[in-house]
């Protein structure tokens, strides 16, 4: 097989027309682009139009709710009822691009606006959102109704400095031919609503430049992908980042959840030890309500959702059944043609 230094686009129907280079064999799998599927949604933009004209969807409740959906998926509901969803997850379209990570699908979830921090499958499943609008890689300041989201363009984590997830381990787990792993994008989102400043970190690198830190001051809640084994952020880095932002509350995400995540798919730990080693609240619910008064006395306080997510897992117990059922007779529908 002839080797070429340049990869053609992996996408079927590419304008690079590989068939005009007959001696070239494409080493990449080709992908059928389905693209966006919002046309298949049943809802419409009525809530968005209402928020456009009235600045919200209900009277101000004075509280921001934060709800957990596994991985880094978080839904934030503003005091006037707008639902913002961050980083829905899925298995990759083809297992050869990263393996199967989840036992189940994230259910189709309602929100008004979907946000994606970066284009990895554990963050970009916006087709699972029944959303009025969708933003990927938002950069700059976005204002609508009773909130403002500032998208800060930066880069994905490269070196975790975890004792487990070294560069060699990650290269073996994710041998993608077309990806420069030293240079992957990520966008941090700063959400301002109801007087709170909330940061969704995505999988950003630990050391963004100073101009980004300058925007991330006096943070009330920071949502960080921290686990005990440092799959993304190690506990040490999470502490440094939270301290730098002066964060009042830390919400760990991107950890192993029994019932959703598959063991051995390149990770395995929760963030329980991280939570317990800090001033903490171990939550027994998937949704919390916060406001300025509630958060003001916290300092780097960890609120840990654990296994509580805002949907039902598909979990079955398999107890041994004493009585074995008979084999049923099949209805002989064909006899009508006798």
């Amino acid at each position: 097989m002839e080797k070429t230094s340049k990869h053609p686009s992996p996408v079927m129907g590419s304008t690079k027309v590989t068939h005009r280079q007959p001696k070239h064999i494409d080493p990449m799998p080709r992908l059928v682009q389905v693209g966006d599927v919002a046309y298949a949604q049943n809802k419409n933009n009525t809530r968005i139009i209402a928020a456009h004209y009235y600045g919200g969807l209900r009277e101000n409740t004075g509280e921001v709710t934060i709800s957990y959906y596994g991985m880094s998926a978080i839904k934030i509901t503003t005091p006037k009822g707008l639902e913002l969803f961050f980083d829905p997850w899925k298995n990759p379209c083809d297992p050869s691009w990263g393996g199967i990570w989840y036992k189940m699908r994230m259910p189709m979830t309602h929100c008004d606006i979907g946000f994606v921090t970066h284009s990895h499958f554990d963050h970009n499943a916006y087709e699972m959102l029944d959303a009025g609008m969708l933003f990927r890689g938002l950069t700059g300041e976005y204002s609508f109704a009773d909130f403002k989201v500032t998208g800060l363009a930066d880069k994905h984590i490269v070196e975790t400095q975890s004792p487990v997830y070294t560069k060699e381990v990650l290269d073996t787990l994710y041998p993608f031919p077309n990806v420069d792993k030293e240079d992957v994008d990520n966008h941090i989102y700063l959400i301002e609503t109801g007087g709170l400043r909330i940061v969704h970190w995505g999988d950003n690198r630990q050391n963004p430049p100073q101009d980004i830190w300058d925007k991330l001051t006096d943070i009330d809640v920071v949502i960080l992908p921290v686990t005990d084994d440092g799959r993304m952020l190690t506990p040490e880095w999470a502490d440094k980042i939270a301290a730098k932002m002066n964060a009042k509350i830390i919400i760990p995400t991107h950890y192993f959840i029994d019932g959703i995540n598959i063991e051995g798919a390149g990770w395995g730990k929760t963030a329980e030890n991280f939570a317990k080693s800090h001033d903490n609240t171990i939550l027994d619910t998937h949704t919390i309500s916060l406001n300025k008064a509630k958060v003001k006395d916290y300092n780097n306080h960890v609120m840990y959702f654990g296994n509580n997510v805002n949907f039902e897992f598909v979990g079955i117990d398999l107890p041994e059944n004493g009585k074995v059922a008979d084999i049923p007779e099949v209805k002989s529908v064909w006899e009508q043609y006798k």
């Binding site: 992908l31 693209g35 046309y39 419409n44 933009n45 139009i49 950069t139």
Partner: protein
């Protein structure tokens, strides 16, 4: 040939639903520059408009931020209106891709290598030297175009296509871009009569990227004038959503070009692939129609279908020639092994 080194055939048919930028190797470095320095290039003082077919327009801000609105594709399911396009949208790099609504001729975002996507925007985004505002409203359902009405549309798409109770396909966000002192409105496929309140919020427009074609598939010439002149007070008008040879299927959706509409007004037939304006250029104009015609900003493959054919027919010996690749296995001794 070592067959084990060929790609697994099954992987050719992996559908990538939703976001595919991971596979395209998209990078956000230009956005980081815009975030850090407020722009990507030196201020040219001009806003550049280029056309990509259907109603895909690219706006380049004075400081180089490229915003593409409404790239097209064939819908993934042929039941959704059939094949509309003979060409795939070119795989171009831009900084921001915006879609007005969830129809195949407006939401081909997966063809475009963009680090930032705004799908059906409502609200305001300030990025680099551009301010992008979305005005959420409804899709046209009764175009009043004398060729067909909403009933045929309903038949073609098999869906209830007007409010109340319509689905996301029949909604639309108009996109306003403010940059270099110029206000540009992309109409998408919006209905002709959004609430007056919304027109008041949009205000006066310098450049109106309209959906006017001579058949009036989305906006008829009459409505185009009513909206552009009376409501938006547009200085420059670009037709859109019209037929381009080699891009649109000639029998799909019945759309034709917009030459008649163009000739009805002060007009310029644009000969280049893009046109640039300063605020002063635009202030001299009043509802001046700029028509790109078939001058899209990419190479469209056009099949030679005119008669008589005037293409040179080459000898088979010359092209492709008689390459007997099997002869490398020819026995050295005799005719057969």
């Amino acid at each position: 040939m070592d067959m084990t080194k060929l790609p697994n055939p099954a992987t050719w048919l992996v559908p990538v639903i939703g976001d595919n930028t991971f596979y395209q190797g998209v990078k956000n470095d230009r956005l980081i520059a815009a975030q850090k320095y407020g722009g990507i290039t030196k201020d040219t003082g001009k806003v550049k408009i280029s056309f990509y077919g259907m109603i895909a327009y690219k706006v380049t801000t004075p400081q180089g931020l490229e915003i593409l609105i409404d790239p097209f594709r064939n819908a993934p399911d042929l039941d959704l209106g059939g094949i509309w396009f003979l060409s795939q949208f070119p795989e171009i790099n831009v900084d921001v891709v915006v879609s007005t609504h969830a129809h195949g001729d407006h939401d081909g975002m997966m063809r475009v290598k963009a680090p930032m996507m705004l799908d059906r925007l409502a609200g305001t985004v300030q990025v680099g030297d551009a301010k992008i505002t979305g005005f959420p409203d409804k899709h046209v359902s009764n175009p009043q175009n004398e060729i067909y009405d909403g009933i045929i549309l309903e038949k073609a798409f098999g869906k209830h296509n007007y409010p109340p109770g319509e689905n996301m396909e029949w909604d639309n966000s108009m996109i306003l871009i403010e940059t270099g002192g110029i206000r540009i409105l992309h109409w998408g496929d919006n209905r002709q009569n959004p609430p007056q309140e919304m027109f008041d919020q949009i205000g006066d427009i310098d450049i109106f990227l309209s959906a006017v074609s001579d058949d009036g598939h989305i906006t008829t010439a009459i409505w185009g004038e009513k909206i552009g002149k009376e409501q938006l007070h547009a200085k420059a008008v670009f037709p859109g959503h019209y037929n381009v040879e080699g891009i649109n299927h000639p029998l799909a959706s019945g759309i034709i070009d917009a030459a008649q509409f163009t000739r009805m007004h002060d007009h310029t037939f644009i000969k280049d692939k893009s046109i640039s304006f300063t605020k002063e250029d635009l202030d001299k104009l009043n509802f001046h129609v700029f028509y790109f015609g078939e001058n899209v900003d990419w190479d469209v493959l056009k099949w030679p279908h005119q008669f008589p054919y005037n293409y040179p027919v080459s000898d088979l010996d010359v092209w492709p020639g008689d390459h007997r690749e099997w002869e490398q296995y020819k026995p050295k001794n005799g005719d057969k092994y």
